[in-house]
C-alpha cells in the first residue's frame, strides 16, 4: 500500500484543522495577493515565516516540509531561468541586485506553494465538501468530490489486489522499455475500469434507494458556523492585508543589496 498511502486522508484535530475552511481559504487567497503585491525579498521572507506558526499549531510540519521539498525542483528552475534571462539581457554580466531579484521571484513561488499546502494539509475532505455544499456550488459537485475522496482508498486497494493477482499469473510489470512498461499495465487497468463501472452502478442504485433527488431544497446534517478562532483568523487576515497595502503604497522597501 506504500504507493497509495499519500492518498489516504486521516482525521487530525488541531486548532487549525477546526477552523472554518472558508475563512482558511480567504486567508490563503490574501497571502497569495500579498505575495503578488511585493517583488522585494524582505516582505516575501516575512510572509514565508508568517506561515510557520500555523504549521506548528496544526502539527503538520513533516508533511509541510515534504511538500516544500517537492516544490524545490520547480523553485530551482524558476531561480535559474530568472538569473539566466537577466544575465543574457543585461549584456552577459551578473549583478547582485539581479540575483536578489531572482531569489525574490523564487521565494514568491515558495510562499504560494506553502500557503496552499497549509490549506490542504489542514482541511479534511469532509470539511472541504461541506464548504462546497454551503457555498453556491451545485450539490452534485460537492457530492462527486466527497465520493471520489471516499473511494480513493477503496480503488487503491483494488488496484493492488489486481496487480498481485496478475503478477501471480506471470505478468511482469517492471520489465522492458518505457512503452512496454506502459503496455504492461493494460491487464491491470481493464479489470480496474470494469469493476469501477460496476461499482458506480451499484452506488447509483443505492443513492436512488435513499431518496436521491427527492427535493431541490436539500438540508445538511452539519452546519458550518463561525467560531472565535475563525473570527480571529479573519481579523489576522484583514490585518495582514491592511498592513501590506499600506507598506506597498507608502513605505519604501530597501533591497538587501542596498542594506549591505
Amino acid at each position: 500500500m506504500s504507493v497509495f498511502d499519500g492518498l489516504r486522508f486521516r482525521k487530525v484535530y488541531s486548532p487549525i484543522h477546526n477552523l472554518d475552511p472558508r475563512i482558511k481559504f480567504v486567508y490563503v487567497i490574501s497571502i497569495f495577493v500579498v505575495a503578488i503585491l511585493f517583488y522585494q525579498i524582505i516582505p516575501l521572507l516575512f510572509l514565508f515565516f508568517l506561515q510557520i506558526p500555523f504549521v506548528l499549531l496544526a502539527r503538520v510540519q513533516r508533511q509541510w516540509l515534504r511538500s516544500l521539498r517537492g516544490a524545490s525542483f520547480l523553485a530551482g528552475f524558476i531561480f535559474i531561468v530568472n538569473v539566466a534571462t537577466t544575465y543574457f539581457t543585461s549584456g552577459y554580466t551578473l549583478l547582485a541586485p539581479n540575483v536578489e531579484n531572482a531569489a525574490a521571484m523564487t521565494l514568491r513561488f515558495v510562499v504560494l506553494v506553502e500557503s496552499f499546502s497549509v490549506f490542504f494539509l489542514t482541511t479534511s475532505p469532509d470539511h472541504l465538501g461541506l464548504a462546497l455544499e454551503e457555498s453556491r456550488v451545485p450539490y452534485e459537485f460537492a457530492f462527486a468530490f466527497t465520493t471520489a475522496v471516499r473511494f480513493v482508498p477503496v480503488l487503491a486497494e483494488e488496484a493492488q489486489t489486481i496487480m498481485d493477482a496478475q503478477k501471480a499469473r506471470g505478468l511482469e510489470l517492471e520489465k522492458g522499455g518505457l512503452l512496454k512498461r506502459i503496455r504492461n499495465y493494460v491487464p491491470v487497468l481493464i479489470p480496474l475500469i470494469v469493476s469501477a463501472i460496476r461499482r458506480s452502478l451499484e452506488l447509483a442504485e443505492a443513492m436512488e434507494s435513499r431518496a436521491w433527488g427527492a427535493t431541490k431544497k436539500r438540508t445538511n446534517l452539519y452546519l458550518l458556523k463561525l467560531r472565535r478562532g475563525d473570527y480571529a483568523l479573519l481579523a489576522i487576515t484583514v490585518g495582514i492585508l491592511v498592513v501590506a497595502i499600506y507598506v506597498r503604497l507608502f513605505v519604501p522597501i530597501p533591497t538587501i543589496t542596498q542594506l549591505l
Binding site: 482525521k11 479534511s124 475532505p125 469532509d126 465538501g129 457530492f143 466527497t146 465520493t147 475522496v149 471516499r150 482508498p153 477503496v154 461499482r199 451499484e202 452506488l203 447509483a204 442504485e205 443505492a206 443513492m207 436512488e208 434507494s209 435513499r210 431518496a211 436521491w212 433527488g213 427527492a214 427535493t215 431544497k217 436539500r218 438540508t219 445538511n220 446534517l221 452539519y222 452546519l223
Partner: protein
Amino acid sequence: MSKLSRLRLAGTKNMAIIETKNLTYTYPGATKPSIIDVSIKVEKGEFVLITGPSGCGKTTLCRCFNGLVPHFYQGELKGEISVAGVNTLEHHTYEMAKHVGLVFQNPENQLFALSIEKDVAFGLENVGVSREEMRKKVDWALNLTGIYDLRERSPHEISGGQQQRVAIAAVLAMEPEIIVLDEPTSFLDPLSAEKIFEVIYALNKKQGITVILVEHRLDLTAKYTNHLIVMDEGKVRFEGNPREILSTEETRLIGVGIPKATLLYQMLKKDGLNLNGNIPLSSEELADQLLEALKPK
C-alpha cells in the same frame, strides 16, 4: 406517518403491506423475463425470508419493492404491485424511500459519505428534514444498530459487518415501514452475519418493521420466520410455513440449503426415531427435542 398511527396500523391484522399479482418483468435487452407471474402477499409486521438458487430473480424482485424496477432499470413490467398502499409503477424510487428501505449485498458500495453519521443522514438530507429532527433520527438509528460510538469514523476504518450495520442504520433513519435486505451478509463471516440477523430480528420484533430478508444461509435465519418464499427460475415455487416447505424433497432438489437440523431430523425420522414437536429449523430446537427424547422415562 407518525409513530402512533403506525403502531395502530400494526395492530390491525391481515393488512397486506406488499401485494403483487402476476408480476412479470424483463430487463431491457433480455430475451426472457427475470421474474415470472410472481403473486405474493406480505402482511404488516411479518418477517419474510426469500431464498432460491443463484439467478432465480430474488434481487430483481427486491428491486420491484421500491420502484428501482422499472424506474431505474427501465424494461418491461407487467402485472400489479402495491407496496405500503402505493403503486410503485406510478411513484418514483425517491418517493418509495420513506416507505421501503433497501439494503444491498456489498456494504462497501452503499456508503458514500466520509463519516458514518453523515452517511446515515444522507436520505434525510435528500428529503429535506430539518437539522434538529435529522440529528434525533440519526442518533436513534445509530443506537438501534449499535454503532453510535463509530459515528465519526470514516467508512473504510470499520469492518464489513459494521459497514453493513451502517447501511441498515441509513435506511432505518428514514423510518420506513418495510426493510428489504438482499443477501446482506454474503460478504461477512458467520459471526458478523449472526449479529446482523439479530439486529434485523430486533427491528422486526421491537419496532414492528416489516422485514424481507433474502438469504442462502437458512441455518442461521430459518428460525426467525414463519413465512418463507422459495423461488426458482423466476417463479415462486413455494410460499408458506418454513417447517413444511423445508422438509419436502422438492425444496432440496431446487438447490435450497436446508438447515442441518431439519435434515438430521428427517434422517432420524426415516430410521424410525420420532421426535416430539415441530420439525426443527435450528440446532437449538433440535437439541431440545433430542434431550427430551433421551431423558430416561
